[in-house]
């Protein structure tokens, strides 16, 4: 089975570029150039230099002993939370800003949910001296105030998306409209493995540094490059795509993707796309999508703004349909519990997104000798207000 993108931009039946003609020149320019740009020695050197000296890579692979004891397996945390700006998102924005420069773009736009991608984009724009506009749902602006302040301090203009559920999906619609209205000088830095081809593939390639490092670090610490499990949360799915990337063809490695169940799968307030969705088109790609019988997109719910998305990257839709990925979901409540547990056991406050991956540890049956790598995609500083509401007394 092939898990990489085809020449036409598909993962199995999913992916493609379902875009209006107004977007075609922008997307086509990127599609025809991204691989060649990413292969240039000067590009690779610049990318890796920034990842090392600016982002602080490689991020540690930390054996969480007390967490391991709790679950009866050997659990390693891939510490993407320790990256500059606090999440894996910066791996992709560093890559894309270098691509944008080579395409001669002067103006950068982005969408953001939790604000992590917005911050990571505003950061690289400050670094490169480029204009930055970030679209963010009005609801998310309320619940992720610290990240809004960071983006503003970094010089980005934060534009509220006021349509629909006023969350990530709507912010993405607005960013796409901006790109339609500003052809030529603008590059759209999509934050996840979603959108029209080549975005899912390009973002996965930039995030694949995560699994590239895991293999080396795991070999050093356990003598084997291959874990039994890799676990990651999935909204659009960029941290999962990066954590799975170099294990896709090692079929003995179980790849576990954890979606947000919100208030429960059947509650009507959920973002568990593989359970609740069916094939459809969102933001220019064919994928699994939460929608009504009439093909209208359903507004999702999750306590975590970064997972509050009604679709899923086409690569994940393919991993789900092909059976290569194990798809689980965690409720708001389970994620909060897992977040508090990690904090008390290891002294690490995880982002609410990553807390969903941690919650999946409860649902898996491990053998004592199992090696588990959990991608701790981000830190929880931005979520303190939510955590405080639920702080166990």
């Amino acid at each position: 089975m092939n898990y990489q993108v085809s020449e036409k931009g598909f993962y199995g039946e999913f992916g493609g570029a379902f875009i209006p003609e107004m977007l075609y020149p922008n997307v086509e320019e990127l599609r025809s150039r991204y691989l060649e740009i990413m292969a240039e020695p000067a590009f690779r050197e610049a990318f890796h230099h920034l990842l090392k000296h600016y982002v602080g890579r490689p991020s540690p692979l930390y054996e969480a002993k007390r967490l391991s004891q709790q679950y009866g397996a050997r659990i390693f945390l891939k510490r993407e939370d320790l990256n500059h700006t606090g999440a894996h998102k910066i791996n992709n924005t560093i890559g894309q800003i270098l691509v944008a420069q080579r395409l001669g773009k002067k103006r950068i736009i982005a969408e953001t949910g939790a604000g992590q991608h917005g911050v990571a984009t505003a950061t690289v724009c400050a670094l490169m001296g480029l204009e930055c506009i970030v679209y963010m749902g009005e609801v998310d602006i309320q619940r992720q105030a610290p990240n809004v302040a960071r983006m503003k301090m970094l010089g980005a203009k934060v534009v509220p998306a006021c349509s629909g559920s006023k969350t990530l999906k709507d912010a993405t619609n607005e960013a796409i409209r901006d790109w339609i209205n500003n052809p030529g000088n603008t590059h759209y830095i999509i934050g996840s493995v979603v959108g029209p081809h080549p975005y899912p593939d390009m973002v996965a390639r930039f995030q694949s540094i995560i699994s590239e490092e895991i293999r080396v670090q795991l070999k050093e610490q356990t003598g084997s490059e291959l874990p039994d499990y890799v676990i990651a949360c999935v909204g659009g799915g960029s941290n999962a795509a990066g954590a799975f990337y170099h294990f896709l063809d090692d079929e003995k490695v179980k790849l576990v993707a954890v979606e947000a169940a919100g208030k429960g799968i059947g509650s009507g307030f959920s973002a568990a796309t593989t359970t609740l969705g069916k094939p459809g088109i969102i933001h220019g790609s064919k994928t699994l999508l939460m929608q009504t019988e009439d093909g209208q997109i359903i507004e999702p719910h999750s306590i975590s703004a970064g997972l509050d998305y009604p679709g899923i990257g086409p690569v994940h839709a393919h991993l789900f349909e092909s059976g290569r990925g194990i798809f689980l979901s965690a409720t708001d409540e389970a994620a909060l519990r897992a977040g508090f547990l990690l904090t008390r056991l290891e002294g690490i406050i995880p982002a609410l997104e990553s807390a969903h991956a941690l919650a999946a540890l409860d649902q898996l049956q491990f053998k004592k000798e199992d090696t588990v790598v959990l991608n701790l995609s981000g830190r929880g500083d931005k979520d303190l207000e939510t955590y405080m509401k639920y702080l166990p007394s």
Binding site: F18, M22, R177, I180, D294, G295
Partner: protein
Amino acid sequence: MKNRIDLLFEKKHAEILSVYFTAGFPERDDTLPLLELLEAGGADMVEIGIPFSDPLADGPVIQQSSSAALKNGMSMRLLFSQLRDVRKKISMPLILMGYLNPVLQFGMENFCRSCRESGIDGVILPDLPPDMFEEEYKEMFAEYGLHIIFLITPQTSEERVRRIDDLSGGFVYLVSDSATTGSRNSFSEKQQIYFERIRAMKLRNPSLIGFGIHNRETFTRACGFASGAIVGSAFIRSLAENKDIMQAVQSFVQSVKKENHDHSVA
């Protein structure tokens, strides 16, 4: 029977007015009354928009009409049932315009069959890639006698314009500016050069200009470069601002097609 879009362009070569409205707006059951008023008021063709929750190629006016229509309970099934007897009253060509996802959920063949049964002549699906249309749906559209109309923008390369012209039927839709609908006011020199460039290509299909056509002046100027023009946001705005749809159609037709207002609906 010959496609009504082709018949229209055979008998009329200039000043064709095509009007867009979103089905289910302002009220759920306005579809047929609006078609009657527009035909009587002097529209040559109508594009009926199928509302979608996430219309990412549309500007704020059409977005709002779309979400209002969905709140009113509009759906693909309801639209086709409203259109069941449309051909007893309406003779102008009718086009359905919508995003791909609702059509795929309805089923492409089911959609084409329903179009033929209700007398729809053409379809515009802005997010359906021409390549995919050619590979998967071209024969189906031909079988059901439906034209597909693709969009051309100022950035579309000459080679791609030729290909879009080859695949399109009835006419090609010239987007006046690379912008979401309804966001521009007049034509720049750059746009005029673009319209001239397309005209000089002598495409096999006639063309209509859309996006940014909102009054008599922009309509007339667009008609100087193409067989006619498409008005969308300006008409939706008129529907939103007027108390009843009859007034809305009247004041809209007056603003765009002055010479027709004498025999417009009374």
